[in-house]
Structure formats: C-alpha cells, structure tokens
C-alpha cells in the first residue's frame, strides 16, 4: 500500500518505521525533541502541510498531520518546498547537504542536533522506505 505525501497516514507510517528501526533506536537513544516538517507550496503542490513527529529516547510516541491553528510547540522545524521534500524522500537529495546549501531550512538547537547525525540519517532512511504516492 502506498501512502500519499503529505498526509496523516504517511507521517504515521514514518512513526511505525522509526519504532521498528534498531539503528534509529540506538543512534537516538538519548534524543529528546520533536520535529515539525513543513512542506511549502510550489508548482507541484498548492498548500502548506505541517507534519508533526514526536521523538523521545529512540522512539516515536506520536505523529500527525496538523492544521495551522493547532500547531504544537516543537524544538525543531524544517521548512522546504514540496518538491524539495520529494527529492529527499526519493533519496535524490541528502538532507544534510540540503540543509548546508539552504534548500532545507532547519530551525532549532543546532548545537544539539550536530551530536546526532546518524539519527537524522536514519529518519531519512526510514522516509525513503515508505511506499509513497505523490
């Protein structure tokens, strides 16, 4: 079954992938801090989408697509146009290179996230494993 991106089903599929990933559990075992992924509108997708990922000590207790009015406070946000997210999820853009070149905009405690590069990579590796419908 393929999951449409962005959607509540897609981000919940990512939650399940993370909770099944031993590599993620190991690399993020001390991690505390939720993420908000923001897919901005572009020629390929007309709306802004907000995907919330709860991350705590190597697990993902919750995930949901949110409305603008209900956005939670998160430690990190990553903004990018829809097409850039597609490149990341398709494995065509390394997310860390994307952040270094400004294609993905990361806000939050950068000092902390620099200590967990493998965890960040595992999140993306899990994204790439989700059968995605565009």
């Amino acid at each position: 079954m393929a999951y449409k991106f962005p959607s509540d089903e897609w981000i919940k599929a990512l939650r399940d992938m993370l909770n099944a990933s031993e590599s993620y559990q190991r690399s993020a075992k001390d991690w505390e801090g939720d993420f908000l992924f923001i897919a901005e509108p572009d020629d390929a997708y007309p709306e802004t989408a907000y995907l919330h990922l709860q991350l705590y000590h190597g697990s993902c207790p919750g995930a949901a697509m949110m409305d603008l009015d209900d956005l939670p406070e998160t430690e990190y946000t990553i903004n990018a146009p829809f097409t850039t997210w597609r490149k990341v999820i398709d494995g065509k853009l390394d997310p860390i290179q994307g952040m270094m070149t400004g294609q993905l905009k990361l806000k939050g405690n950068l000092m902390k996230i620099m200590r967990y590069p493998k965890a960040a990579q595992e999140i993306v590796a899990c994204c790439a494993k989700i059968p995605t419908e565009w």
């Binding site: 590599s23 190991r26 390394d94 270094m100 990361l106 950068l110 620099m114 590069p117 493998k118 965890a119």
Partner: protein, 395 residues
C-alpha cells in the same frame, strides 16, 4: 547543488616567501609549544617577522586540541586584536586557529555552536592563513574543525564553509625534517582522506580527481619519504622530491575530502583518538583496510572497484576491494605501522571495557553518515573487534 571551497593556495619551494606580499599589521600565530621548542617553525616565524608586522605567538595547543585551549586562545586574540590569524603546524594548531578565529569574530558563539547550517559573517576583524608543517592533515585547506570535549571524552566535528582559510602556504621545506613515525602517521592520514573522499557518498566530479591523484602519489611516495626520514643524507633529490610530492598530496587530499566527506575509518579513528589518544593518522590508517573490506562486501562496491583499478592495483575485479585492502596493509607495513590495535599494544581488557562507548560514539560521529555501506550497530562493534585482533572483515 554543492559547493567547492578552497583557500588561495601558494605551494612549492619558497612558498613561505609569499607572506611578504600580504599586508599584515598584527599577526596572531597559533602553534604548538613543541614546534617552538625544537625550532621547526623558526623559518616561518622569520618570514612573518620580515613583513614588519607585530607578531604574537600563542603556543598552548595540545595534540588533541581541547575546548579550553580554544577559549584561552580566543582571550589572547581579543586582547591582541590581530588582523591576521596564522595557524602554523599540524592539524591541531590549524584547527585551533580556525576555532579561535571564529570566536574572535563572533564572541556570541561557543565552539560547539560552530556548525555548517548558520551564517557566520567572518572577515570583519581578521583573516586566516594556514601553514602546514606536516604532510597529512589537510587542515590547511578544509573547513572542518575537530576539537576534543574532555568532559565527555569525545571528538567534536565542527566547522562552517566560511571558516576555511583565506590563504594556505604549502611549503615543503617546513615538513622536510619530520621524523619517521610522524612521516608514516601523517602520510597514512592523507591516504585515508584520499581514499575516503573518493568512496564516500558525498564524492563529486570535482573532488574525485583530487582524491585519486593524491592516493596515487601517496602510494608511490610515502615509502620513499619514510626512508628519507631515516636517511643520513635526507637532502638527496629523490628524497626531497618524494617529500614535496607527499606535501602536495596531503593538501590535494584535504581539498578532495574536505569538499566531499570522509567515512567510516574516520568515525572509528576519531573514537580511538579520543579514548586511547592514538595519533589521528595512525588510528584512521589502521582502520581503513577493515572499513574497505566491509564496504567491498556491500551491495554496491563500485567506487572501491574503480579506485583500485585507477590506482593500478592488480587483482580480480570481483575482489578489488579485498585487493585494495591488502595493498593498504602492505603500505602500512612498509612504513612500519601496526596493522591491528593489539599490535599497537592496546590492552584487551581495557579495550573491551570501553567497546560499547566506542561503538556508541562512532555510530554518531559525523563521518559515518557518508559511509558507502552503513554499518548496523552490531556490524560496527564487529569492525572494532576485527581492528583489534587483525582478523580480515568477512561480513
């Protein structure tokens, strides 16, 4: 989209003399005390003096540079107000100089905040010159800063593209008297940069040529440079030529991997350096054959096959990675470096006691993310065990 960052590089015989062409008023020289003591950097200091500038030497840089030495050096810079900072020495002084420069320009930051995702806005107060005195680190041309967090016994991979030096002066005379062990260790460091820069997942068309040529030159010239370091007549032309080739290869490899990335041998080597204080080049060079064997047994060993072919390492195409690993071990043996941690003299009990921490730290080292074959936690543990015992990697 990607970037290629490089200082202006002045290289070859008498490169140091180009200092006279730079308008310097106040130079803060960041170096290590041993280099001052043995007089190895005297020619460089003389060249800086000749510019007529006011010069202050900060030489409190330790072999695994610490946050404390950076903070101390920043205080010195704040007091002296240099318009140029000069990193003079091996990787430790040059990395320390980069960090001091950033914090001098940006007093609102602490070292751990130097990351590639922010705009630093450097070059308001000063600029940076790097002058390597060893042939290996590549820190003269990279923007990476590796510091040791002594509280957590962990290497910190920091840096931002902006903090690459403005000018790198790569003068082979400064490295011509390196002793044998340092020649071998730094040479294997440069080789590891070249190999990992070529095989890592962030390699590019622009960096491939630099890494490839550097690897070829190091295979050819490191044994001669090592011999030169022990010779009664080290000024023989064949020796000085090999030394110069190694000096240039180290900078080329630095440009190559610095604009791509390193890989798994660096992730493991960083941990061995912080836990056991093994010199960086010896640690990464020792790990490299094991990580190459591991990558060669992965789903797509094509980069390793290409590298082995381009280096002229003969063997079955299907086992190119294993042949390359054997060639790396042969070279390490030729320069009398250990092939395993046991041979290096590490106590097995002590090694086992810290194994879990080492695997944890290597698993979250920045260099692991570009490994051509990503190891699982268990595979990384087995790689450390293989590097300890010297057993080839067969998984």
């Amino acid at each position: 989209m990607w970037h290629f960052v490089s200082p202006k590089i002045v290289f070859g015989e008498s490169a140091l003399s180009s200092l006279e062409e730079i308008n310097i008023s106040r130079a803060l020289v960041v170096t290590d005390h041993n280099l001052v003591e043995i007089g190895a950097i005297q020619p460089a200091l003389e060249c800086i003096r000749k510019t007529g500038c006011e010069m202050l030497v900060f030489d409190h840089v330790s072999p695994d540079p610490t946050l404390e030495s950076v903070e101390l050096g920043t205080a010195v810079a704040n007091d002296f107000q240099p318009d140029w900072i000069i990193g003079l020495g091996g990787g430790s002084p040059m990395d320390t100089a980069k960090a001091i420069w950033v914090l001098y320009e940006r007093p609102d930051l602490i070292p751990a905040m130097i990351n590639p995702f922010i705009k630093l806005g450097l070059r308001e107060k000063s600029r940076l010159i790097t002058i390597p005195t060893t042939s290996g680190t590549g820190a003269d041309v990279t923007w990476a800063i590796v510091l040791t967090d002594t509280e957590n016994n962990r290497k910190m991979g920091l840096g931002n593209r902006e903090n690459a030096a403005d000018i790198a002066l790569v003068d082979p005379a400064l490295a011509s008297s390196m002793p044998p062990r340092l020649t071998a260790d730094t040479g294997l460091d440069a080789l590891t940069h070249a190999v990992e820069g070529f095989i890592c997942t962030w390699h590019t068309d622009i960096t491939d040529g630099l890494c490839l040529n550097a690897a070829r030159e190091i295979f050819q010239n490191l044994p001669v440079a090592y011999e030169a370091a022990q010779a009664d007549n080290p000024q023989q032309e064949c020796y000085t030529a090999a030394r110069e080739k190694m000096h240039n290869a180290a900078t080329s490899a630095g440009l190559g991997f610095g604009n791509a990335m390193a890989s798994l041998a660096h992730a493991m080597g960083h941990v061995l350096g912080s836990v056991f204080h093994i010199p960086h080049g010896r640690a990464v060079g020792l790990c490299l054959p094991y990580t190459i064997e591991f990558a060669a047994r992965g789903e797509d060993p094509s980069r390793i096959t290409i590298l082995a072919e381009m280096l002229g390492i003969k063997g079955e195409k299907s086992s190119a990675g294993l042949t390359l690993a054997a060639a790396l071990r042969d070279l390490a043996r030729e320069v009398e470096n250990p092939l395993s941690l046991e041979e290096l003299g590490l106590d097995q009990k002590e090694f086992q006691q810290v194994l879990e921490k080492m695997v944890d730290d290597a698993f979250n080292d920045t260099q692991i993310i570009t490994a051509p074959r990503a190891p699982s936690y268990q595979e990384l543990e087995k790689l450390f065990l293989a590097a300890y015992s010297g057993q080839p990697v067969e998984f």
